[in-house]
Symmetry: C2
Subunit: 226 residues, 2 copies
């Protein structure tokens, strides 16, 4: 439906679509600002729609919930991630590398200024349980999608015998590392541009193989429970 290849968002679209997009962006921008000032819970949607000069009804036609608008930058990223995963062949490359690379690609493909909005969004999510919950849920949905794609993609090549659970564990391990990277990136006190985020990803992903070795040396757990 909406064909966005990461940079045509502002170019030749029908006027209607451009208007919708402009409203959408204004809502995100204003929401992040407003929520950042007053707190997610304290700020009301009425204030937001008043500031952007749209009706509440229009807001809910653009976003599914109050949480949704605050997490828009994150959804953007995962949308690009899934898109890239779908285009990438799985054969001949270790699965973990594929998962990681698509995330680098997605981050690199975000339009200018994205990191500023994303940072604001992350700060809100860290401070607001309800936002954190929505963020985790969305990530879990993306995980399901990616696992499906990966299993299908592996089906045609070598290593097709890999159980879905293993694929899932590997992906979720990478996502844990990603969240760790995010946590450090969004914490105050360091650089918070996109290059710094990539550097944090490098560091976090480097830990993953070490963890796997740690896990592999563990004796079979089946002998452990009472």
């Amino acid at each position: 439906m909406v064909e966005s290849k990461a940079s045509d968002s502002r170019s030749e679209l029908p006027l209607r679509e451009r208007k919708k997009l402009r409203t959408r962006r204004a809502l995100v921008e204003t929401a992040l600002e407003l929520f950042g000032e007053k707190g997610f819970g304290a700020a009301t949607l009425d204030e937001l729609v008043e500031a952007v000069e749209v009706s509440k009804r229009t807001f809910f036609r653009t976003f599914a919930s109050k949480e949704d608008v605050a997490l828009a930058p994150e959804r953007e990223l995962w949308r690009a991630y899934v898109e890239d995963i779908g285009e990438r062949p799985f054969a001949g490359e270790p699965l973990l590398a594929v998962f990681e690379r698509s995330l680098y690609v997605a981050v690199a493909g975000m339009e200018g200024g994205w990191e500023r909005r994303f940072l604001a969004s992350r700060a809100l999510a860290d401070a607001t349980p309800a936002l954190n919950a929505h963020s985790l849920r969305h990530c879990a949905e993306v995980t399901d999608e990616v696992v499906t794609i990966a299993v299908a993609g592996l089906g045609t090549g070598p290593g097709a015998d890999i159980a879905p659970l293993r694929v899932r564990l590997l992906l979720e391990l990478m996502l844990s590392a990603w969240r760790g990277a995010l946590k450090e990136w969004s914490a105050p006190g360091g650089e918070q541009d996109r290059a710094a985020l990539v550097a944090r990803m490098d560091a976090a992903f480097a830990v993953v193989p070490e963890v796997l070795e740690l896990a592999a040396r563990t004796p079979d757990s089946r002998t452990l429970h009472p």
Copy 2:
């Protein structure tokens, strides 16, 4: 405040506390039934409190939200999990084994009939995005807690050099496996008693060390991004 060692819940407590506990249980039981019949979204709190014959105000003094009552069995489990982790020494045993064992202990320690409620709760969470979100958030909070405890516990023994990120990744890896086990256990078509759950856990945890093989051949990811 509420000291529950997994079986003294119904014994010698002041009358006031017992009454509160009775109301609490009635709310959970009725809620799971009601939500199961009508769906979480369609059922209203007014119906619930009417059925249990308490005021809505009292409901919110017992549970923080509508989601909370539906996920009560899960919270119970994680409460026991954290408790057990806190009492267990970390030295001399692989970290992954500690994490896994405490989960076995927690599951084994749940009172009779817990698995039935838990199953109902899981079914609801699978069918209801809002519940899934709350479930994931709670699990994430528990994760933070456990990482803190583990890092502190490791501080006094050998292996104190394990970075918090590694501890977190290992724990989340196990939790991924746990969720995989849950998914299969709660899916219709198999046994759904507690022994079957433990068996699913055995199988899922056994996969964890194997995941290493999938990633072992991975070249260092730092060389991969553009």
